[in-house]
Symmetry: C2
Subunit: 469 residues, 2 copies
């Protein structure tokens, strides 16, 4: 996967899912076609990409919606495990996994079995309004799926339909908690009730969320006020005057720059405290701090466990909720199910949001952040919880977290070797699990690698460049 | 369905889906249980509601998440057509249809068939990132489903995961369109690009969306700035200083108050124009106007086609986009597929958003509102498009829009008769299709009707009261 950011250009290679090449067998579509179990043993290119059929479909779809970001059309029936097959019969090793949202590969037999199980039929056909009329198996399915991977100190979870909705509602939970804390009780005044109807304070208070430069937390308007990775996401959309802190810019290799990096992280933490004080003085107090454990969309920026422990303490000291956004990092890519587990804390966060590889959106929360006013029509989708429960079974049964750690080491060692071999071109190789990255010296070189080196075949790798340029 | 609003209390009875009692047969779960075709012929109550099993599950779910709004737990396997069966074996006529999101009843055989069709398996198992790697059948499925019901003058559609995301992204489309219009071209300045990264103007401009008091457009932060139906939705969440116009308060029966109602609508339209001028002078120009064709959540407030035609003209005159939010009204409940069709206009809107009974979220848009920067991970869910295509087939095959008009008339006539019979208690009977409502004189009377009269059985009808109090 490739990413660009305003000043640096990085080749980022996090497969974001579990390698499945060791002994997994795949079952193709049942009944109407011949039932065959098979694995692919490598990529196989038949045309340039996008091929003629993709181009034809792109024209057709272009009459209906914007196709500026479409790379090619897929044959998902024929895709298996790590291999994505396109409509022109090209088979590619998929490092991108649908923007990191396919947890155990395409057409995994465990998931195919789940859809064909008649006991699950009703869950697909009858999508309920979960907040008012949940199905009988809903508590059990939550326990089996999300609660079985609950972050340390958290036993409450709210599902949502996507990552942005998860963060939007997590922010709302934080605001409600913060205002109740300020009031000293949960009962709003008449003035609160009347002013909020016309978008005015004190009912709609001037409180804020502190975020980091380089962060990505989604594209709906609340989330977007905390997203600062690329201008193209934010341009032309009204926003809030909320504080934005610098995220550490570490120097690599880490062992050679430990003093400099510690100083850099201290500088950022000091700036966080300064901003909290400054925004309090401005009358826009910081109700919560939101951070990714690894800034993904912003260019794979890492920080040390010490940095995050310091940040968590600052949040506690200033009475701000600490929200860890694991939409991109959650699900095992870093070698632990949650990236924040690498910090080694019993009480890592007040809110942890998720989506993508967890297939359903949502967030875990501490008991005290339990507001009764978070609600919408669907509140998630129980059919996605079914899939997640099965995905977690596969991860456990096949020890996939260990496999991520093992293959992540191989991947990172490979990047180290490459950057030693091409010192003027590649630098800052870094990673956790398979969430690995390396910087390329400039755009042209990056593009040349993109178009010529990967897989030894000249084809277009799907990329954020279309969106970023 | 019952609703309350700050000053009035209404008994609102819009079934929001198609009556299915005429000749439809339902197929129960296949394979593991005996395959039986059957209809229910009426409600059947075994316990008070919530019954003992529901209470047990409520306790279990209460340990995991807030259950303040949960009414009871459902047995969706046993539910059929208009009848919802709970986990205690109670069978109820469902006027509420999962907050108006079940279009053709529970376990419709056409939808059951769709899930069990092996050709659809891959669509359920492999959820793609639609914006970059759509499946081969995506253009065809869009044509078959959404485009086949495209509002007049619109041939472009963008899918989204839910109603709030649809409105959030529709607003963003409006802002981008408006700013490009202001600039006179699509190329942002360096200042635009740098300021937007820190949430400041001109990159994040101070532009606004005009909405109506009583409206509901969702609960994420952008949507919430245009939602003004109940304080409980908005309280404690920061918002934008955007203009809010009065929505007409019509007097009934309409034929007796035609002059007064015309005056009331003129007053509201004048206020809209005044606000547009005022906000332009404040430096927060109105980029778009958003309205529901019938304010649903706000208490079933109707306005005449003349009002909406006037509003559309004001939008055009002042260069604002006109956004019709059909999340609640779209899908046929008013007797036409879109409620705005009752206005009889060739060019009713610039953007029409939808969700709920359309099973997928999204919005239609005019060509000129086609921005290339609307994007997120999933951009909808193709498995929901499959369902929608089949739902539309059923609506056409069974002439359900005509049936809505027919049964809506019967329902409204019944309400007229009731209000004539109880003049001090019921008033303002109104409706379009089955989207019908009547006001009750006060809370206590409403509650007494709720708990005692409906279906002649004393059970708890699911209600917004829990959320509104």
């Amino acid at each position: 996967m490739w990413k660009s950011c305003p000043t640096f250009v990085r080749l980022v290679c996090h497969p974001n899912h579990f390698p499945l090449s060791h002994g997994c067998r795949y079952v193709s579509k049942p009944a109407t076609k011949t039932q065959v179990e098979f694995d692919y043993n490598g990529p196989s290119m038949k045309t340039t990409v996008p091929g003629p059929r993709s181009q034809e479909l792109m024209k057709q779809l272009g009459d209906i919606q914007n196709v500026g970001a479409v790379n090619f059309f897929c044959n998902y029936e024929e895709s298996r495990g790590n291999y994505l097959v396109d409509v022109d019969g090209n088979r590619m090793l998929d490092l991108y996994t649908q923007i990191s949202s396919i947890p155990i590969g395409y057409n995994h037999p465990a998931l195919v079995k789940l859809v064909t199980n008649p006991n699950n039929l009703s869950t697909f056909v009858n999508r309920p309004a979960l907040g008012i009329l949940p199905p009988e198996n809903f508590p059990d399915k939550l326990t089996e799926s999300l609660l079985s991977v609950a972050p340390s100190g958290m036993s409450r979870v709210q599902t949502m339909a996507c990552g942005s909705c998860s963060n939007e509602n997590a922010f709302k939970s934080i605001f409600i908690w913060y205002r109740n804390k300020e009031r000293g009780h949960n009962t709003p005044s008449d003035e609160d009730l009347s002013t909020c109807m016309i978008n005015q304070a004190p009912g709609c208070p001037d409180v804020s969320i502190l975020s980091f430069m380089g962060s990505f937390h989604g594209r709906t308007m609340g989330c977007l006020a905390t997203t600062h990775s690329k201008a193209i996401h934010k341009l032309d959309v009204p926003s809030f005057d909320w504080p934005i802190a610098p995220f550490p810019r570490l120097q690599y290799p880490l062992e050679e720059f430990s003093r400099e990096n510690a100083q850099e992280e201290s500088r950022c933490l000091e700036e966080v405290e300064d901003l909290i004080v400054k925004w309090r003085q401005k009358g826009k107090p910081v109700a919560g701090i939101v951070t990714e454990p690894i800034q993904a969309e912003g260019g794979d920026n890492h920080a040390s466990p010490d940095f995050f422990r310091g940040l968590r303490n600052i949040a506690r000291k200033h009475g701000c909720a600490f929200h860890v956004d694991e939409v991109q990092t959650g699900g095992g890519t870093t070698g632990k199910f949650w990236a924040h587990e690498h910090w080694g804390m019993d009480d890592p966060a007040d809110i942890v949001s998720f989506s993508k590889k967890l297939l359903t959106g949502g967030y875990f929360q501490k008991d005290e952040l339990q507001p009764y006013r978070i609600f919408n029509t669907w509140m998630g989708d129980p059919s996605k919880n079914l899939f997640l429960a099965e995905v977690l079974n596969v991860i456990r049964r096949e020890n996939l977290l260990e496999e991520v750690t093992r293959s992540g080491k191989a991947l990172l060692n490979g990047l180290y070797e490459l950057q030693a071999q091409y010192p003027g071109i590649l630098s800052r190789a870094r990673g956790q699990g398979t969430f690995c990255a390396v910087d390329v010296c400039d755009d042209a070189t990056r593009n040349s690698i993109l178009f010529k080196v990967i897989c030894g075949v000249e084809f277009r790798v799907w990329t954020w460049l279309d969106l970023a340029s």
